[in-house]
């Protein structure tokens, strides 16, 4: 682990970028970034061929620190930029890191359509149940009854289950982990990156500064310990009743299906269309007619 940490520091962090990072002490984002870099390292991916995109928010700053091709896009739109990058250069490994508000509020439409479309992309969603950077307003995953800076009387709306949403929308691979389970998270990320098709890894994280403090959930240590206590593996969860699962976090691979990947399907269409066009052009040139005049 120590040796690996040294490699990560030397090989994968940008040293010409002014550290320290913007994240608060105890934030889960750094744990996710570490696991992501270890996953990329152990998969042996070429840094030149890796793209990390992000939207806006605390999670949005992650690409700044890592030595890949990186892009910090607009709020909620990261997956649309990733779609363009992947289609233009299918050989690149394109990953997109987003927050809960980023991916399921302002970017909710892009998220479900990316899942439906099934391009070969990886979406990493850090779910900390709040808009941390803007001051702790309620997000689509803020639990019912919780307090936030825009729900001081208690939240009256219900939370999204991001992983289930992704699976229902058609994602080929869906997994969940928490920032307590750093090595498990790394495994899930590896599986997601390797998966052919759209993969979603939801990572439950802590924002003790905004969400934890207002809901008396303790500091970073207490919140992360809470994830440990509340987590059950998907294997165990399938044997539990709905009542028993109340308040639990199901972790592991929640969906893994084989279906045609649209990036690859489109490549096939391009090849066919190119061949057909070539035959037509040749035939027309033979008859002295140019292509525009069809």
């Amino acid at each position: 682990m120590l040796e690996c940490a040294e490699i990560i520091r030397k090989e994968y962090l940008r040293h010409d970028k002014k550290f320290p990072h913007v994240w608060c002490p105890g934030c889960g984002n750094g744990i996710v970034m570490g696991a992501l870099l270890r996953a990329v390292h152990s998969l042996g991916l070429d840094k030149d061929e890796v793209v990390l995109a992000s939207g806006i928010g605390c999670s949005g700053r992650m690409p700044t620190y890592v030595d890949f091709n990186t892009i910090h896009t607009t709020h909620g739109r990261a997956l649309t930029f990733s779609t363009g990058i992947k289609l233009a250069r299918p050989e690149l490994t394109v990953m997109t890191v987003m927050g809960d508000g980023d991916s399921t509020a302002i970017g909710g439409n892009h998220f479900i359509h990316a899942a439906r479309r099934n391009l070969n992309l990886t979406a990493i969603i850090i779910n900390n149940s709040t808009y941390g950077m803007t001051g702790g307003q309620y997000s689509p995953t803020t639990p019912y009854g919780s307090k936030s800076t825009t729900s001081v009387y208690g939240h009256v709306e219900h939370a999204f289950n991001i992983a289930e949403l992704a699976a229902t929308a058609g994602a080929a691979f869906v997994a969940r982990s928490t920032v307590y389970h750093a090595t498990h998270m790394e495994e899930m990320l590896k599986k997601g990156i390797e998966k052919r098709g759209f993969s979603v890894i939801e990572i439950i994280s802590n924002c003790h500064v905004q969400h934890g403090r207002r809901n008396k959930l303790g500091g970073a240590v207490e919140m992360i310990n809470g994830f440990k206590q509340r987590s059950v593996t998907i294997e165990k969860a399938t044997k539990m009743s709905a009542d028993e699962l109340e308040g639990k976090i199901t972790i592991g691979v929640l969906a893994d299906v084989e279906k045609p990947v649209s990036t690859e399907e489109y490549q096939r269409i391009v090849e066919e269309a190119k061949n057909k066009a070539e035959i037509i052009t040749k035939a027309k040139e033979k008859n002295g007619v140019k292509r525009y005049e069809e």
Partner: protein, 382 residues
């Protein structure tokens, strides 16, 4: 088989939207993302067939915000990219258009204008989006806007749009309208080898030395694509030379001034106007888009009646061709500005009118094209 006459051979019947497609493909566009909207849908439909044939990519996104995101993504990966829409979609494009400006991403956005505001008049022409192209996205930013008035224009201006976007690393907007888009005319298209194509300048330094936003004598930094081995950072935050976010007021000022001056340095190249019968004109019409067609007819008819009339057709709307317009404001007694809006371009002309020339506005917003007769009436009575 008999050999066909060279000029006859290339004369073909095209619709404005079809000519935009032909121009885009000739310019090297290999990526299109769009969302269905009248009266721009033909551009999507035809490109969905043509792009795979040349190894390019077409994708229909979930909305215009996503289309613009995908276009920028594709361009950052090194592929010339475009989207096409109309007013309501253009409203959604504004968000990521600003991203294209700050991250200096070459791309082309076609707005086939229809009547607005809101859903407005989906199948009627309008020029209501002119000022929106300039100031639609938030923050101080440069932009290039070109207007087309004929099918031949659609082809050549689209090529120009791609060339300017690549040369200056900036989104370029093509303003068409419902009349130009759906008019069929016979045009003569040049051979591919007759067309001048400009591709973005790529860096040739080792990756450690590469500064993706460093100033140079052109004011336009060299642009590496994702996957080229440079592993740079792109952001919508104001950034330093290396592309990383900055709060340093000196760096902020330097950056924002550079993205403006890179355009002002290129005014001669960017600001395009066409003139007809202006040599001895005393009265002139300044027009753009489909209205310029009516204006040309009106000017010719006015000449037959002995009026020394001329036409200045604006191809570049922004950066506003102040120098050229100023010349004609000084030359002419009266300038007539017909527009299918409440006077969006006449505002600009008025703004630069230091000569105190009399400016007559003619505005039509009923979903109908301005006729030559309407303009002729002004030319013969002013």
């Amino acid at each position: 088989m008999e050999s066909i006459n060279e000029s006859e051979r290339k004369k073909i019947l095209l619709q404005g939207n079809e000519a935009i497609v032909a121009g885009a493909l000739a310019a090297g566009c290999r990526f299109f993302a769009g969302y269905p909207i009248t009266p721009a849908s033909e551009i999507s439909e035809i490109l969905s067939v043509k792009l795979p044939e040349v190894g390019g990519t077409f994708i229909q996104m979930e909305d215009e915000i996503a289309s613009m995101g995908a276009v920028i993504g594709a361009s950052l990966a090194g592929v010339k990219a475009m989207t096409a829409t109309s007013g309501p979609g253009f409203s959604l494009i504004q968000e990521n258009l600003g991203y294209g400006c700050i991250a200096e991403v070459p791309c082309v956005i076609v707005n086939v204008m229809r009547g607005g505001p809101s859903t407005g008049l989906p199948t009627s022409p309008s020029q209501g989006d002119v000022q929106m192209t300039r100031w639609g996205t938030h923050g101080d930013h440069p932009i290039i806007v070109l207007a087309v008035s004929s099918v031949a224009d659609c082809f050549s201006v689209t090529i120009k749009a791609f060339n300017l976007s690549e040369k200056y690393r900036i989104p370029v907007i093509i303003l068409s309208d419902e009349v130009v888009a759906h008019t069929r005319e016979s045009v003569t298209l040049p051979d591919q080898d007759q067309i001048r194509i400009f591709d973005r300048v790529k860096p040739d330094v080792p990756s450690d030395w590469y500064k993706p936003y460093a100033d140079n004598n052109r004011g336009v930094p060299d642009m590496a694509a994702f996957g080229d081995g440079y592993r740079h950072h792109v952001t919508g935050l104001v950034h330093d030379e290396k592309g990383f976010p900055t709060q340093d007021s000196q760096e902020i000022d330097k950056f924002l001034r550079r993205i403006h001056t890179k355009i002002s340095k290129g005014f001669q190249d960017i600001q395009i106007t066409k003139t007809h019968l202006m040599e001895d004109a005393e009265v002139c019409v300044i027009a753009y888009g489909s209205v310029a067609r009516s204006a040309l007819r009106a000017v010719r008819d006015a000449r037959k009646l002995g009026v020394k009339a001329g036409l200045v057709q604006l191809v570049t709307l922004f950066p506003f061709p102040r120098k050229a317009v100023d010349t004609y404001l000084r030359q002419c007694r009266v300038v007539i500005v017909p527009e299918m809006n409440m006077g969006q371009m006449s505002r600009e002309i008025g703004r630069v009118n230091q000569a105190g020339c009399r400016i007559v506005k003619h505005n039509r917003i009923d979903g109908q094209l301005i006729t030559p007769e309407e303009i002729l009436k002004h030319l013969t009575t002013v």
